[in-house]
Subunit: 524 residues, 2 copies
Amino acid sequence: MPTPLDALSFEPLTPLLFLERAARVFPGNIAVVDGETRRTYRDLRDRTRRFSGTLRELGVRPGDRVAVLSSNTPLLLEAHYGVPGCGGVLVALNYRLHAAELAQIVEHSGASVVLYDSELAALADDMLHLIPAPPFACSEGELEARLPEAQPLPIPAVDERSLLSLNYTSGTTGAPKGVMYHHRGAYLQALAMVHHARMDARSVFLWTLPMFHCNGWCFTWAVTAAGGTHVCLRKVEATEIWRLIEKESVTHLNAAPTVLTMIATALDADATSIAGRIHVCTGGAPPSPTLIETLGALGMDVTHLYGLTETFGPIMICEPQPEWAGADPPRVARLLARQGVGNLIAVAPRVVDDAGADVPADGTTLGEIALRGNDVMLGYYRAPELTAAAARDGLFRTGDLAVMHSDGYIEIRDRAKDIIISGGENIASIEVEQVLMSHPAVLEAAVVASPDERWGEVPVAFVTLRDGMQARPADLILHVKTRLAKFKAPSRIVFGPLPKTSTGKILKYALRQSLRADDTAPFP
Amino acid sequence: MPTPLDALSFEPLTPLLFLERAARVFPGNIAVVDGETRRTYRDLRDRTRRFSGTLRELGVRPGDRVAVLSSNTPLLLEAHYGVPGCGGVLVALNYRLHAAELAQIVEHSGASVVLYDSELAALADDMLHLIPAPPFACSEGELEARLPEAQPLPIPAVDERSLLSLNYTSGTTGAPKGVMYHHRGAYLQALAMVHHARMDARSVFLWTLPMFHCNGWCFTWAVTAAGGTHVCLRKVEATEIWRLIEKESVTHLNAAPTVLTMIATALDADATSIAGRIHVCTGGAPPSPTLIETLGALGMDVTHLYGLTETFGPIMICEPQPEWAGADPPRVARLLARQGVGNLIAVAPRVVDDAGADVPADGTTLGEIALRGNDVMLGYYRAPELTAAAARDGLFRTGDLAVMHSDGYIEIRDRAKDIIISGGENIASIEVEQVLMSHPAVLEAAVVASPDERWGEVPVAFVTLRDGMQARPADLILHVKTRLAKFKAPSRIVFGPLPKTSTGKILKYALRQSLRADDTAPFP
């Protein structure tokens, strides 16, 4: 029971405070731009309080989950305040998933309400039909109609260590895991992002990064903390991005290298569209020297971040050192391609061996990146055994195999887990393998990551057909595409026997090596 | 009992983490400059760990107080890490105080060790002689001699709500009050300062603000969080300040308006000494339009902050609004002279009436600034009744009478408490009055603040002499100077009867008014 004296010096940390401050301190600043719609921070606070009131009227109680299916619209941005504002837990859905995958996530989360953007009404409908007892569904238009009459809710008292959001990610088994974010972590991570991206009340942030990815790496809250402007973007499309960069005088954007390459190489790319410089944060894969150089020439300065869904996004930053300024460009590019060091609020990341001991900082000894601290998840939702397995000793094992350099920077060398990261999206190998093996002609399948210029990695399937059976690559790819999100389909199918250990375990390492060997072949 | 799972997502917030990070991420950056001495962050961490080890060897246990008597030297800066690094509580002493005042503070704190800079050896000696059971005393030279052999201590596990430091301030009674800072508050306040001062690893901070003031408003930790450089300064002297600005390429400094005026009007003031722009934070009194303009012409951009010892320094900031850029200069100066809004991590400051209700935001209704949140003190050390009186309902009453403007900015209009703020230092009227009345010729004395171009305010004494007794102003001023810190002595003595209420209470308001009336007299 807190006493008045506790209240004197203690306020629970929650990102909801950032909107309260922005609405008080910068009430007239433009908070949200969406096409021709422009809303101030005063408006955003008022709307999100009514949003919370509407959810309360729909029966949402503290701790209840509210799922949102939307691209980067005001609906999803406002949900980052409106849902926790009534004590609810936000579940931002990846709209690139298949209806069946979404249904599985919504069911697992136990969401009582699903909000969706009308542009995704068909997907929402498909998803809802796959859920035996579907949650109450409400489009952004229906929500909008309720706002004027809704009772605005003041922000609730929260326990800072309590659940703020669930971010679903593919596990190695393919079953989605609900990563539990807490208020304190999101608050501190947002402050770190404000610092590293150098944001302030004049910043204009373009939403090229999906808000459903780690709650937009917590920039849904960080931009608000800075009092800057959120510019919504429904579709990641170069012409529109360059139009908005010029029209809205964008100062910041975040995206996976894949998307940055698309932006940088678009016909519309035009350095004269950029008034000052644009601060770009990227992650999911290291930005290539060519990409950094091309963006630089366009007026964009790149910061390389590293993180996972389990770590509120970027727990690490490749912090540029003053002395790198003078180094030769290829060396700087190599240095910048590393995953780096802990961010401003992170506990120092470690690279550990199986026993949990730090590997030597020699740049060669392989270990696993292991993390803990305020920007690490509470655990996996309704999966204590998965949580315990991922963090048996209080250290989250990332599955990323890395070395520790002598300057304290971490660099990833391989991945321990069977995950492919394509265009910033996680793909579980096993999930694709299982779908492939559900095809009548397939005897065995192994799916591994293949390096890809555009997507960072793409899935490639090695398949052995049943005796006497026939299947074309296109048949198998279509088989996957009709059952999973399209980005999970293999880009290539390689037929033949699979290399195995004496105990019959498929040697995925050898398969990955064979793909890398291909890469060394000269291009025509 | 925390489980491994708690450790996964929870790390206690303490500013000690900032030095750990700086030493890992920016090991080669210059952390401290002191004359010709330059130490890297690697060195600073290693030294402060040995500092902690030395204190442990001297018997300092967790919770023990360690007092430091020093100007802005490496000793005092390192103590901000070395003392809490062994679990100790830092008591940074105001070396401008009289030996008797210092003795009172050290006794009240129960410090078991006093560290002092050799330049202040005489004062330390005088102070120690006034303490019946004096603490163990150690000069910076003696400490330095012990460091090489000391056992470095790793940073301790701390409760983030536990005591980090005591900052003594004059109460209205003149008895010093030990304001209790907690680790969490210092951590968050430092992050807010990094943001508002826009600091990063290239920042060079000149220590014109005393580190004993609210732990240097938490910049002792904030500069380190940013990975910037601390430039020590033993004496606030214009020639030396301008020399360092040029030599060290200073980017940041903080000071009361008094000191800024001295810097800006010095013969050495030279805009060509400043490479880029210097970010200046000021507080203690509003910066005048002339000062802002003069500093601007020299290359210094001023941010106006407001806070008290009880609030880790600047809990408020006069955040400039985008639209002010276009307003006419006198209006902007008036807007910037206001105390402002809550800082990035502060709970929104309030202006309340006696019953604790918010006054209307009309710019005219007077109320008292009332504060709470993560950057508010735990209370007054060993004075629960004072704490309860200052925060009876969980809101700290500042004693500053203010209005709330319609744009949400707070502006101070008067002071409820009998405190004079001169050159950033608090002076309790009653303390000076008591000393005056100890003079045989004095019957009654009332001390009030008089506006002063240089110091913001200075104490002026209204004195009634005993019948038939004589005293010259100079006699009385000398009488005070030999008993209290020199800055507490009245700048003027006005003889005559004191205006009183019917119940005999002195009308200080009338005395203050009479001084303001003087101000309107044209200058010769």
